[in-house]
């Protein structure tokens, strides 16, 4: 059973009269209890994908396709019903915990707010519960920190707070959007371990978005690679046997982290993608057909799909 | 959106400039021609906007008034920019004690109720058109100084300035050749915005009877006269105000347009 299934998701924005295709027809699913990794360069549409799963994208020009959460089409829900899913069923952890927390309210205030939103609890009970959650995510001196403002805490602490907030309503799907990107190395490891731990404890499904392929290799069952608003490759053991030249290029970058300009040439403009395969201008293996016909996602191996006219069998 | 602002703003200002330039051709009468037989006659075919309390043609006076207002806007703002940019750039570039001192001065000036400052200065200088412009300039440079200082501070820290400095360029040269051109867009916006403000200030002074001297027709002083005959001559208080409104609107639209354009460019 899939906890989440996305079919032909398109998210376009309108800017200065031009259409920006942030996400252009992607489909994927997440099984119950599974962790799916989502990787790609900046601007490839990862975050927009994550946000559109609960219709969080603001002022889209077009938002189409289907997002089925436990069979319910999120896009068809009334906003009141949708709010019951947000936070309670699908929770998010964002990049930059400091800016993702409201600077003018205390940690406790913000936690109690959402606890009381999704549970019938008195203020007092909510506070006790918030304390418990903070302790659970390993925040020392939880009582004091509950009364702190985000700017008084370190980045790692704030991320723990974010996680505590995310967990506080027992969601079944956690979407972590680059949760460790701006943290220092040791904190990164701690946060990742924390996520891994709570995933197990709470039996969560996870959508993990990151630049860092190493993390995906360690923490996720399956990985999807996005390029120019589309998924170019998705499957298990992607890293052992990538088929798409783009994935291969990513993997061959030394650190394993997708650099800003990870490849030769520039990422295409989202206002005007190249015809044919969107990767062809940068592809070392391109042929004439690549410039004309758009490749579709095809199952290359069981559970392993690739969108490429000439999928390479490449071993890293 | 910004295009439309710029277009409508510059259209209004353009028309006003034309009206000001060709006022002698467009005016149906000599704006100072007194006619005691036709005191305060309502709008009619002979006098489209009516006459004032000395029987002068209101339309002609408003047309000539355009000259005063536009001139006041440009010159007053020129003066304000001159002072504001000089002090702002000095404070921003030198920083340290000079900066603190200059900014304290700016603070003091800002704490004055501006209008009171204006009144005292009007008393200090004789109210010729130039002096009015000077006074408005002298009392409105503080905002410019603050903006320029902030911009200079941020530009100063950029890599390329450090590089130029390392190459041994002199301070004067750095400020005038490298920093100020980068501040120019915001100066432009502030300047145009202030022009509207300066025109408002001039008309307010004239409305209180402290502005330009008769018989120079100023919209504010026509309004002042209009207030005293409000109950019998509505045209005296309605038409000059429309002229002020349109002019200031023109400048404000233009400034807003340029500002949003600059933001979207960067």
């Amino acid at each position: 059973m899939y906890i989440l299934e996305v079919k032909n998701l398109k998210v376009y924005f309108s800017q200065k009269g031009k259409v920006l295709k942030a996400v252009d027809g992607i489909s994927f699913f997440i099984r119950e209890g599974e962790s799916l990794g989502l990787a790609g360069e900046s601007g490839s549409g990862k975050t927009v994908t994550a946000l559109s799963l609960t219709r969080l994208v603001s002022h889209p020009y077009l938002l189409s396709g289907e997002v089925l959460f436990r069979g319910k089409n999120i896009f068809r829900l009334k906003s009141a019903d949708l709010r019951k899913i947000r936070g309670a069923e699908i929770a998010y952890i964002f990049q930059n915990p400091l800016s993702s927390l409201n600077p003018v309210f205390t940690v406790g205030n913000q936690m109690i707010e959402i606890i009381r939103l999704h549970h019938r609890k008195t203020k007092r009970e909510a506070e006790v519960y918030a304390l418990k959650m903070l302790e659970k995510v390993g925040i020392p001196d939880a009582y004091k920190n509950l009364r702190s403002y985000p700017h008084q805490l370190s980045g790692g602490m704030n991320q723990r707070v974010m996680i505590a907030m995310a967990l506080s309503c027992h969601p079944s799907l956690l979407i972590a959007d680059e949760p460790t990107t701006n943290l220092d190395a040791t904190t990164q490891v701690q946060i990742l371990q924390l996520i891994e731990r709570i995933k197990k404890e709470e039996r969560l499904s996870l959508l993990f978005i990151t630049h860092d392929l190493e993390i995906l290799r360690r923490f996720t069952n399956r990985v999807a690679i996005m390029y120019a608003g589309q998924i170019v490759e998705i499957g298990e053991n992607l890293f052992e046997k990538p088929f798409h030249p783009y994935t291969y290029a990513l993997l061959s970058a030394r650190s394993g982290i997708i650099p800003e300009q990870g490849l030769k040439g520039e990422a295409p403009s989202p206002f005007a993608f190249p015809a044919g395969c969107r990767f062809h201008p940068r592809c070392p293996f391109k042929r004439s057909i690549c410039e004309e016909k758009e490749p579709i996602l095809q199952e290359k191996k069981k559970g392993h799909f690739v969108a490429c006219h000439f999928p390479q069998t490449m071993v890293k | 959106m910004s295009r439309r602002f710029i277009l409508s703003g510059s259209l209004i200002i353009g028309i006003l400039i034309i009206l000001a330039l060709f006022a002698p051709l467009l005016s149906p009468y000599d704006p100072n021609k007194i006619d005691v037989e036709n005191i305060l006659s309502p709008p009619s075919k002979a006098h489209i906007l009516g006459t004032d309390s000395l029987g002068r043609d209101l339309l002609s006076r408003i047309l000539y008034g355009t000259r005063v207002s536009l001139k006041v806007g440009v010159v007053a703002v020129g003066i304000a920019l001159l002072i504001g940019v000089a002090i702002g750039a000095l404070a921003g570039y030198c920083s340290g004690r000079i900066d603190a001192l200059l900014m304290r001065f700016v603070d003091i000036m800002l704490c004055f109720p501006t209008f009171f400052l204006l009144l005292s200065m009007v008393a200090f200088l004789r109210p010729t058109v130039f002096n009015i412009m000077l006074i408005i300039g002298l009392t409105s440079w503080m905002g410019v100084a603050r903006i320029v200082r902030a911009e200079v501070l941020s530009i100063k820290e950029r890599e390329f300035i450090r590089y130029i400095k390392a190459m041994g360029a002199g301070d004067m040269r750095i400020v005038s050749k490298h920093i100020l051109p980068n501040v120019l867009p915001s100066i432009l916006v502030v300047g145009i915005l202030r022009m509207g403000g300066a025109i408002l200030t001039e008309s307010a002074l004239s409305f209180l009877g402290l502005g330009v001297q008769p018989p120079i027709p100023s919209w504010g002083s026509i309004l002042m006269e209009g207030k005293s005959v409000m109950d019998i001559a509505w045209w005296m208080s309605v038409f000059p105000g429309i002229a002020i409104l349109l002019t200031v609107l023109g400048y404000n639209l233009l400034a807003e347009g340029i500002r949003t354009l600059a933001i979207s460019r960067s």
Binding site: - | N32, I34, L40, L54, P215, E225
Partner: protein
Amino acid sequence: MRADFWRKKRFVKLRGLVRRPLIFFILSLFLLFPSFFLYAQEDNQPCYGDAIIVGSIGEPITLVPILAADSASQDIVGLVFNGLLKYDKDINLVGDLAEDWEVSEDGLVITFYLRKGVKWQDGVPFTAEDVLFTYKKLVDPHTKTPYSGDFERIKKFEVIDDYTIKITYKQPFSPALASWTMPIMPSHLLKNEEDFKHFARHPVGTGPYRFIKWETGSKIVLEAYDEYFQGRPYIDRYIYYIIPDQSTLFLELKNRNLDYISLTPLQYQRQTNTEFFKKNFRKYRYLSFGYTYIGWNLNNPKFKDKRVRQAINYAIDKEEIIKGVLLGLGRVCTGPFVPNSWAYNPAVKPAEYNPEKARQLLALAGWKKKDKEGILLKGNERFEFTLLTNQGNVSRRKCAEIIQQKLREIGIKMHIKIVEWGCLLDLIERREFEAVLLGWGLSRDPDCYDIFHSSKTGPREFNFVSYKNKEVDRLLEEGRRVFSQSKRKEIYQKVHKLIYEDQPYTFLYVPDALPIIDARFRGIEPTINGIGYNFIKWWVPKDKQRFKR
């Protein structure tokens, strides 16, 4: 709304009667005839009661008579206090607090015999002590009074007894009598008050009205003084409303909330000719005691030449100014005296508007050529000057603009500079002016020594145009020495003629005073002294009274 307030009250009563028409009819039959006689009688017979509501733009500054210099203060002071002397309806000096007075043969000593039995409004008798006290305060260097001048000429002030005063002057000084119209203040109340602080807002006088209260920024209320020595005034209360805005003042009059205001020429000519106003108000129009003029700085080489000043007099069309500024409500001024003064010389005829004559005179004075702009030239000098006037006076501003036009027509370029009053005084004091457009408010005494005598050209003195004419000097001195009015009349009529001939000022106009008063008031008799002189005799017929006690 406020008008409705009154109207409603009256309507309620009427409606009550109308509802029972029969009773009303019978009642009126009974009442009609006796009441007819009663009313007819009452129409001629003054009766007590009612209040008059006066609207004013300005608020009094102080009610201390020797400090009060503005017209609002003087309005109130005049009702609360008396001087030793006053002017009657024909502008003759008559006794007020003084019953009689004597001037010694040599004119040096004036003896006042004070009225007996006059009581201050707090019941204390009025005596010579009060006059002495007022005099002392006037010449006390710590008193900030503007009126000390006339009293500093006193050599000796003797109190002979409680009701006799002998005042000895350093020289004969005929305006002295006029100076004793100065209101007298109560010694017993002020002896121990240092700076009049309390008194300034709670005055006690001998006058027809007692001070009741002053609500700052709003109104002053006076009440008839029952024991006033000239008889209690008919109108019970005098309420002085301060409404610092001309249009609101007029609006309130229109709503019949005010009984008495001064109209502007525009209001007089254009806004009060309706049936409504004719029915409910009476408009009065009489010449005021003051004139508007251009003063030329006679030290300026341009204006030193009499012919230039005369030319300008010919070039300015005073009738046009009176039409444009006063809407016809005024008279051409021909000299330092107004037509209703006994010093006025009717033989002096105003110069006609004659630009041609003006050009000729200017040519004689050397202003022959014109430059490209059409401005007259004398050598390389353009005929260009600046006329100063004060800010906040619309008529003067308009006046200046008309003059500007007229002078431009004969080739003189005049600039107008409008500065605030304080600034103007400063410029005049420092003689930094070429010409000023100003007005003089005149006292009833024609003595104008301070304005035209050549000895009065010092920094803060009033002959600021530096006018010097030996003959005029002599006449002005004589006018001060002589006490006989007929002799003085002769002297001042000569002064009038000489000054108009010399044109140190270009005399422009004497404006009309334009009061409007609710029609219910009776006993108002305009004379050359205006209407205010007999205010205590004004009254309202019983049936027309609006305010009951």
